[in-house]
């Protein structure tokens, strides 16, 4: 058996601290490579516990307008898969502890080549992969390659995922289970706390992995609510909207962009550390590093 990865270790630490984690999403290379790297470098110090790095794609079908625009900005600034790996590698050179998860769509991954992709990702210090349009039915080739390279493949569980399908979705899952809180694309609707609590409880019946909740969390207050029921809250669209909000008329990063983004991440981090209500029932379970 290989040693527990950074993702398992991080969730074990969170359990020891008795708190919910914060997973932050930004697109690699948005709005440009240097600014993107500066943001990623600052995320952990601002309180992010897991870093999701989006692989830019021309046709992000599962994403709402904020992340679509983020992907377009990165591509317009010349981002390629090499940019994504470079940002991960530079981050890893400075931070050996915070897990990095790449999140993207099948085509850029296949275009790079599965084996080359997982090898390069591992060398860049990446810990996990989320490929949004790769359901378990099509995921075997990637799952096998990733496991060989020691990378966790993280699967999404949706409100539409029935009980009969849950085991199938989670059987090859690693890292954490990603519970999609809304029926929709990223950054659009907002889920009720009760619905999120039910969704998390449903996922826990089928896996011992930590459960992160995402897709509809836009404010520190919402993140605090999620912290009461899940092991981690994922925030993406609201962060990349902060990037969009601090561009000049030519679409270039203003001086205040990085501090504004990291300041917002800091607010989210504070919020998840002070949940709106104490963890209850199954959600208060502890994770051990030996798991």
């Amino acid at each position: 058996m290989s040693a527990p990865g950074r993702i398992a270790e991080q969730f074990a630490r969170l359990a020891d601290e008795g708190r919910c984690g914060l997973v932050t999403f930004v697109t690699a290379g948005d709005p440009d490579r240097a600014t993107s790297l500066a943001i990623v470098r600052g995320l952990a110090a601002s309180g992010a516990d897991v870093i999701e790095l989006g692989i830019p794609f021309s046709d992000p079908m599962a994403d709402g307008p904020a992340i679509q625009a983020s992907s377009s900005r990165a591509l317009a600034a010349g981002a390629t898969m090499a940019t994504t790996f470079a940002i991960a590698r530079d981050f890893r050179a400075e931070d050996s502890r915070t897990p990095v998860v790449l999140m993207g769509y099948s085509n850029p991954v296949y275009a790079f080549g599965l084996d080359a992709f997982v090898a390069e990702a591992r060398d860049a210090g990446v810990d996990g992969l989320i490929v949004v349009d790769l359901p378990p039915e099509e995921a075997d080739p990637l799952a096998v390659a990733a496991r060989t390279a020691g990378l966790d493949v993280i699967f999404l569980v949706a409100p539409t995922t029935g009980e009969d399908r849950m085991a199938r979705v989670l059987e090859n899952a690693g890292g954490f289970a990603y519970a999609v809180s809304i029926t929709g694309i990223t950054g659009t609707k907002r889920a009720s706390t009760d619905a999120v609590a039910r969704a998390v409880a449903r996922v826990r019946k089928h896996t011992s992995l930590p459960v992160a909740v995402g897709f509809g969390i836009k404010t520190p207050a919402q993140a605090a609510t999620i912290a009461g029921v899940a092991d981690a809250a994922v925030v993406g669209s609201a962060i990349v909207e902060r990037i969009a909000g601090h561009l000049d008329a030519h679409g270039r990063a203003g001086d205040d962009l990085v501090p504004a983004v990291l300041g917002f991440v800091g607010e989210l981090a504070t919020a998840v550390r002070a949940p709106a209500r104490p963890p209850t029932g199954a959600s208060a379970r502890k994770w051990s590093a030996s798991r």
Binding site: N107, Y110, A111, D133, P135, V169
Partner: protein, 405 residues
């Protein structure tokens, strides 16, 4: 290339045609896609569904459409005998209605209360809006802003039929972006909404289901050519964007080794320029809109914008079964340019009194080229996939620009 016993067995139970096809969608959609698959399997085993579908195809869409011997074109080209399969005479002026009737009946059977669709040239949007008017189902059509501009008459038709037309401004603002938006809508409205995909693209079961709904084209041609000539045709020619009219014509003939099949893509300004839509001629396999197929993409896996004078062929992907048929060597895929298609458009209009759609004009342009290589005894069936009324403004504008140049 190994000769297979049958080319008609696909897809397998996971929706794969060899390495192509499949279901590459987000988990939120996956249960829905499986639900459509189950519902379609039940419906296709139910004689009542087939009877209902046949009823509307016959009495509403006007099937079977004629197989017309194009006498003047045959004489003009001086080679093989050319037949037109007159899908332009179907209700709404193209083959698209066949698929829309089938999918709308399925949506109704599944209890879905709302229909969405994407459209490029507007033919599929019009057909969907038409069937939704008939069955009294609210419908929303996603259409790229660029396509709305160049296919204005169809936008008017959709609106008159009661559809909401939502312009898509992102990306290249054409068919692929309309399909992205339709998929996003579907993810957000899974309980109520059925997505009527217009071509043999998308996740399984769509490529199979749309093919089955279009296979009436080839089945009719079989009967009609036997009645007229007492033999099978030698060559079938059809244009390929997503590829639904081509697969509908080809599929019933795939196991007839004597029948040569030619799929015609849009070469735009030329396949050696960046501005074309020749996915099978110039693309590489990849994943877009739910299935693995040939795609126009850059080295980094970003989808490229396609170009064609014809909005219906302006798509950087192609149905997965066509990718498989290409690699299996069963169907030849070629590409003709905007200029060649426009010439064929005018030729057909003047010689036969039939104004073809610009998509169809690509198949006609290739027929011209083929005619020079075939003999007078040969029989060619060209898929007259749609009528050109929607393109008149666009063609006039191009002709005027030509004169100015």
């Amino acid at each position: 290339m190994e000769q297979l016993n049958t080319y008609r067995a696909g897809p397998d139970e996971k929706g794969h045609f060899g390495e192509f096809g499949g279901r590459y969608v987000a988990e939120t959609l996956m249960p829905l896609v499986l639900e459509v698959e189950r519902a379609y399997a039940e419906a296709s085993a139910d004689p009542a569904f087939a009877r209902e579908n046949d009823h509307y195809l016959t009495h509403y869409a006007g099937r079977p459409s004629p197989l017309y011997p194009a006498e003047r074109l045959t004489a003009h080209l001086g080679g093989p005998k050319i037949y037109f399969k007159r899908k332009d005479l179907n209700h709404t002026g193209a083959h698209k209605i066949n698929n829309c009737i089938g999918q709308a009946l399925l949506a109704r059977r599944m209890g879905k209360r709302r229909i969405i669709a994407e459209t490029g040239a507007g033919q599929h949007g019009v057909a969907t809006a038409t069937v939704c008017a008939l069955f009294d189902i609210p419908c929303t059509i996603y259409m790229g802003a660029v396509d709305i501009e160049r296919q204005a008459p169809n936008v008017t038709r959709m609106k008159m039929l009661g559809a909401e037309v939502r312009p898509v401004e992102v990306g290249s603002a054409t068919l692929k972006d309309a399909m992205n938006e339709a998929l996003r809508d579907w993810v957000a409205n899974v309980d109520t909404t059925f997505y009527v995909i217009g071509s043999v693209a998308g996740p399984h079961p769509y490529p199979m289901m749309v093919r089955d709904f279009q296979a009436c084209i080839g089945l009719e041609v079989r009967n009609q050519i036997w009645a007229a000539e007492s033999r099978l045709p030698d060559v079938l020619v059809a244009c390929v964007g997503g590829g639904s009219n081509a697969i509908g014509l080809f599929h019933p003939f795939l196991d007839e080794a004597s029948v040569r099949m030619v799929g015609v893509e849009a070469a735009g300004r030329g396949i050696d320029t960046p501005e074309h839509a020749a996915t099978l001629s110039r693309g590489r396999p990849g994943v877009l809109h739910g299935s693995r197929s040939y795609l126009l993409q850059d080295a980094d896996g970003q989808i490229l914008e396609a170009h064609s004078v014809s909005a219906g062929l302006d798509y950087p992907g192609v149905g997965p079964e066509h990718s498989w048929l290409k690699d299996a060597g069963r169907v030849e895929y070629v590409a003709v340019t905007d200029d060649e298609a426009l010439e064929a458009f005018h030729l057909c209009t003047r010689l036969e009194g039939i104004i073809p759609a610009l998509e169809t004009a690509h198949a006609l342009a290739q027929t011209r080229k083929l005619a020079a290589t075939l003999s007078p005894g040969d029989l060619v069936v060209v898929s007259l996939s749609g009528r050109g009324d929607k393109d008149l403004e666009n063609v006039s504008r191009l002709a005027a620009a030509e004169e100015d140049a």
